[in-house]
Structure formats: C-alpha cells, structure tokens
C-alpha cells in the first residue's frame, strides 16, 4: 500500500547519511521536503558543501528506499536555495553527533562565514569553547581547521589526550 506524503517523508527521513551513518538525512537537515502529487513522490535534498562527494549516493539511497517502500514513481531533486547550514541540524542530530564522538557545531551565525566585512585575523589558540565528546572536558584545542571531510575540523582533548572530529559551523 502506498502511504501519504507524510508517510513518504518518514521513509526518506530515515535514510542514513553516507558519511555520518549514525545520523539520518533528516537529522542533518539535508532532506528539505517530500511531496506527493499525481502518484509521484518527489524528495528535495539540500547538499552540504558545493563539493560534497556524497550527493549521488544520497539521491540513490532516497530513491531506492522510497521504491522499496512501495512508491512507484519517485523523483529526487536538489534544492540549492537556501543553502545548507549547520543550523539545520536537529537537536536529535546534535545529540547523535556527540554520542558518536563528534563535537557538534555551535550556531553558524557566530562564524565569519556569515559576515560581510573583512575577515578578522587571529593567531594562537582558538577561543571557541569546545567540549570533548569523549570525557566532557573543555580543555581542548584545534589541531586543524580541515579534517577528514569538508564539514569537519580536527581537535584534541588535553585532558584525556584523545583526538576528535568537530562539525564546523557554516
């Protein structure tokens, strides 16, 4: 039986992210909308970064999950406007990130990515207070602004000595 548009949303919303499979596309705010019209289910997804290499996989997974759930006509489309932001990650998503050992982002509005003026430069330790997802200490330092994927930076906890990933605000 083919369900309603909201049932289709539930199916698409449960698709795991290819790079952060402990989170769903809905948790990450990548799934923008699912609608059903004239027997066709259309799912819109908003990719994270311009160069995100996982877009094809996301689209294929949403498509195949919807078809497996009994929807015959499925279209997956990209929605680029408005652009994705880490502010779209749900509270549940932030919690799952921390549980998986990845420090969640703070509000994106506080980052220079949102500013319009010249970039203020600063050397020395990053002042942003980041809590270690392993031991809860706030005595942490940034090792590299760029990490294993476009959306992450690499940090280290000075208390438990463990390195960890952190989602960058954008």
């Amino acid at each position: 039986m083919v369900g309603t548009a909201s049932a289709a949303w539930e199916v698409a919303a449960a698709v795991p992210d290819p790079e952060l499979p402990m989170l769903t596309l809905a948790d990450l705010g990548i799934l923008a909308e699912v609608s059903e019209q004239d027997g066709t289910v259309t799912a819109w997804i908003t990719p994270t970064y311009s160069g995100c290499p996982a877009v094809a996989e996301m689209a294929a997974n949403v498509d195949s999950r919807l078809r497996a759930a009994g929807y015959g006509e499925v279209a997956v489309r990209l929605r680029l406007d408005p652009p994705w932001s880490t502010d779209r990650i749900s509270a549940e998503g932030l919690r799952k990130l921390a549980e998986a050992g990845i420090a969640p982002p703070g509000p994106a509005g506080a980052h220079p990515g949102q500013s319009t003026g010249p970039t203020a430069l600063a050397l020395g330790p990053t002042r942003r207070a980041v809590t270690c997802p392993q031991c809860g200490s706030t005595d942490t330092e940034e090792l590299s602004r760029f990490g294993s994927t476009a959306c992450k930076s690499l940090w280290r906890c000075r208390s438990c000595r463990e390195p960890f990933d952190r989602i960058k605000e954008i």
């Binding site: 402990m22 996989e57 990209l78």
Partner: protein
C-alpha cells in the same frame, strides 16, 4: 559491554539500516556523477540572455576549476599533513563550485554541454579563467598569497551575486560565499604566521605577495558580459584592496606597489589569452578523458 560502545558503531549502524534494496549505492563512491543541478529549476529569468549567462558562468567556473587543479597538486607534497588536508578541502570546494557553474553554462546557452565537456574537451584558448589562478604553484608562501588574493576578491563578488536574477547562479554564490570565508581565514592565518614570523618567513611571504600582486587586477577588469549581466568587478577593487591591505598590515608586511600585468592587445585570460603555464595544467587535467573518450567506470 554494550555493542554500541564498540568502535564498530558505524558499521553496526549501517547493518541495522536493514537489507539494502537493489541498486543501493552507498558504498559505490565515485561510480556515478550526479548532475550537480539535478532537478533544479533551470528556466532562464526574464531579461537574462542565455548566451551571456553561459559565458559568465564559464568565467567564474574556469577560475574555480583551474585553481582547484593547482591546489590538488599540493597533495603528497604540502609542508605538513594538516596543510595537505586543508588544501585538498579548499580544492574540493572550488571543484564543486566549478561543477555547478559549468553545468549551468551548458544549460544557459542551450548547447547541452555537460561539466565534463567544458572541463575535459575545451582547448586552452577556450578557457576563460584569469591568469592568476593558472600560474605555477611556486612555494607555500605563493600558495598562501594566491589563495588570499583570489578568495578575498571572489568572496566580495559572490556576496553581491547572491541576489542575482538567475536563481541558480544566486544559489551557487550564496553557498560559495560561506566556503570562501573559510578560504580567506585559512590563507589569512598563514599570512599572519609567516609575515609576523621569522626574518626568513617574512621575506618569503613578502616576495610571494610581490610576485602575485601584478596578476590581481585582472579580477577587477570587466569582461563585456560582466557589465551586461553580472557585477561590474571594477566596483570590487576598492573594498577588496582595503580588506587585503588590512590583513597585510596585520602581518607586518608591506602592500605591494607593482603595477598590474599588461594584457596582450587588451586581451587576457578572460578572452583565452593565457600564460604558458595553462597548457601543461590542462594536459594533465584532460589526459585520461581524451585518451578514453566517453569512458565510464
């Protein structure tokens, strides 16, 4: 011990997702390249000439593609692993921007050319990037200087293009401006570290700025389509130079005074007149696609 507490949580999560429907491509990274504008409304807005928009998207897309290729050349030979990861990430951002822009170009002019047609099957004189982005990499200070000049100018442009009547171009600009802020931050932090570092690092950072500065002005020199449907880049000259001067002063270095590089009979990269550096770059970029036309994997 709870199974979820093991290091296998990622794989357990995947397994728990249930049996994979036929055709599920989760592990098949790199096997399919989705149209970067899949399902996006590609209708041209009223008053925007498709041929002009296509050229404009090529100007911006070629800048991003060629600089991306230069950044990727640092992989395996950057000063430190962290910088290699950073430069690869910056290159990936630019590659993504280029894919969107070149795909848009092929739609806008009605030719149906794909991003691959633009990237792999055009000749050197058909590329419209500014010469700044094609120059050989040089040392790490030159890498930093070029990134700083390019990202600062492009960030200023994309801020203005985020309200362009073409909603696809506007969306690409709005997305990219946030990425370029990170590029400025990266280059700026190295400018500061090297400029306000040792006598040697300051000398080399200054030399890099001096060497690349003459190529900056091409980014502010309007191409005819920029005047017809984009942002007049000469309006960016003053605010971008002010922003750069502030960062250079912070790094205790001197703003270069060298004059802009001349054009060839008024023509530069935007008209396909390039330096000798672009040919070898394109040869490497295009060799596989040209040796195996239409190949898929």
């Amino acid at each position: 011990m709870d199974a979820e507490m093991t290091d296998d949580h990622v794989y357990l999560s995947l397994a728990e997702a249930g049996p994979e429907p036929e055709g599920e491509a989760r592990w098949a990274y790199g096997t399919g390249f989705t149209d970067p504008l899949l399902g996006v409304d590609t209708a041209l807005p009223a008053g925007v000439d498709g041929a002009d928009l296509a050229v404009y998207c090529q100007l911006l897309g070629d800048d991003a593609l060629v600089l991306s290729q230069r950044l990727i050349e640092w992989v395996t030979c950057a000063p430190e692993l962290e910088e290699e990861v950073a430069l690869a990430n910056l290159g990936l951002d630019l590659l993504g921007q280029a894919r969107h822009l070149l795909t848009r170009a092929g739609q806008a002019d009605g030719s149906g050319r794909t991003e691959d047609d633009f990237a792999y099957l055009r000749e050197e004189q058909e590329f419209r990037n500014v010469r700044l982005v094609e120059l050989p990499n040089g040392d790490f200070a030159e890498c930093v200087a070029r990134l700083l000049l390019f990202a600062t100018a492009r960030h200023a442009l994309y801020e203005r293009l985020a309200t362009h009547p073409d909603r696809v171009l506007a969306a690409v600009a709005a997305r990219s401006v946030k990425e370029l802020a990170y590029h400025i931050e990266y280059a700026g932090s190295w400018l500061l570290r090297l400029g306000d570092g040792t006598e040697l690092s300051a000398r080399r950072m200054q030399a890099a700025l001096d060497a690349l500065w003459p190529w900056l002005d091409e980014l502010f020199t309007p191409h005819e389509v920029e005047l017809r449907l984009g942002v007049d880049p000469s309006e960016l000259r003053e605010p971008v130079l002010a922003s750069l001067a502030a960062m250079i002063a912070e790094a205790t270095l001197a703003v270069p005074t060298a004059q802009p590089r001349a054009f060839v009979n008024g023509r530069g990269g935007r008209h396909g007149v390039h330096t000798e550096a672009l040919g070898p770059l394109l040869a490497e970029l295009q060799v596989v696609a040209r040796a195996h036309p239409g190949a898929t994997w």
